[in-house]
Symmetry: C2
Subunit: 243 residues, 2 copies
Amino acid sequence: MMPPASDHQPLGLFTRRLGSIAQLSAEERQAIESLPANIRVLKPNQDIVRDGDKPSQCCLLLEGWAFRYKLIGEGRRQILSFHVPGDVPDLTALHIPSMDHSLAAFTKAKVAFIPHESLRELTVRFPNLAAVLFREALIEAAAFRQWIVALGRRSAYERVARLFCELYLKLEAVGLASMYSCHFPITQGELADAMGLSNVHVNRVLKEMRGNDLITLKGGAQVIHAWDKLVHAAEFDGTYLHL
Amino acid sequence: MMPPASDHQPLGLFTRRLGSIAQLSAEERQAIESLPANIRVLKPNQDIVRDGDKPSQCCLLLEGWAFRYKLIGEGRRQILSFHVPGDVPDLTALHIPSMDHSLAAFTKAKVAFIPHESLRELTVRFPNLAAVLFREALIEAAAFRQWIVALGRRSAYERVARLFCELYLKLEAVGLASMYSCHFPITQGELADAMGLSNVHVNRVLKEMRGNDLITLKGGAQVIHAWDKLVHAAEFDGTYLHL
DNA sequence: CGGACAATTGATCTACCTCAAAATTGGTGG
DNA sequence: CCACCAATTTTGAGGTAGATCAATTGTCCG
């Protein structure tokens, strides 16, 4: 289990995450942890960066969940990803000037803002770290591809099952899930916006999953009763997460 | 107009592409163009890398089109992206060991294979080039996000219009389209696999678009008659392409 | 000219949507 | 601890975008 991020060493979470992807030298570790960071606590649904913004800092998620989304005409919304502690959901902005979507806190969340300038300096001093961040971005792109396949060619039932598999593995990797159960703050309406469905249909899909003894969702907690059946229903292969 | 890639300097296309993203020094340019490259001509639909492979080289597209796709159960296929000359569609593999999808020639195509090893060396010698490649990957991730929004929350008509906008701009940027017309080798069935639709429905959408005087598709060529109307129908904003 | 493949059309079906109302839940202040 | 409010979840009924199935008609190319 991963302890909550400490206020004294908030960036420890960052080194731990990057260290899980690649070997870090003591020097690199030291450099990361002495990055300047501005800690803030955010309310649920509070925007961090908006579509069209040109941010000058990145956001390391320390506690709580975040999500990315895009609003389009007639009040339609598509959720693009969910994020857990250790993620830097707007790493993209480090090399691309303007945001093509928005990022917000999903639950109450604690984040550390790190200036782009400092991160760029870091990658100049330690090319190895640049490569690690690159890899991080590529892994995320892989997740987007799976999301595309799900939306384009999978049934509602398969899509939802797939999302549950992905989320469980991501949560487990940071110690926020174990024994097939985890905190689960996503409402059915939000699930719908993530999976390109209506809230009513999500409700029916969940009912069916309960009927099949796959999962239970109650009081903001999820229990997966039959991981294997869930994985099978979703045709899920978690390799792309590279955890 | 961009002349076809010459056999004597095939990587000139690469420097031109990267140069359009960032300033390159003469030294960097020189280093890129002396990368070892193995030129090959591929038949339509010939796979370049397959789902699950662990390639040791990247592929620079010199002539023709390529596409990425993923096959899932019951013969379903989702096309993830289309690529034009100058693209390196499997750059991902440079930092991620195994492929989570396949890459193939879409038309007859000429490609240059560059060993990962040489590319890595290059990025070590020229950290600036590493950053450029990073940026390239992030731009592609942005395209994936737009694709997700389209599949999740847009109608068939909007989706197809959006794809046409994106493709036209990409082709124009490499000199393969101008005056709102371009070579267009995509069949309706392939369009369907890209947009998460059936071929029959794609046919009806195209018919409607013709009826609205937006486009004509005939004999492998596309003409856009009303770019503004197309952009409007698609709610298209090409900023994310960063061309 | 013939064969294969792609485009087109018609008819029917269905997964998922929209609208609307009722039941449940969780949080809040008194 | 309870009453109340707002937000969710759940259920029903009916509608529709887009799927599937099955011909038919181009179109291209060897």
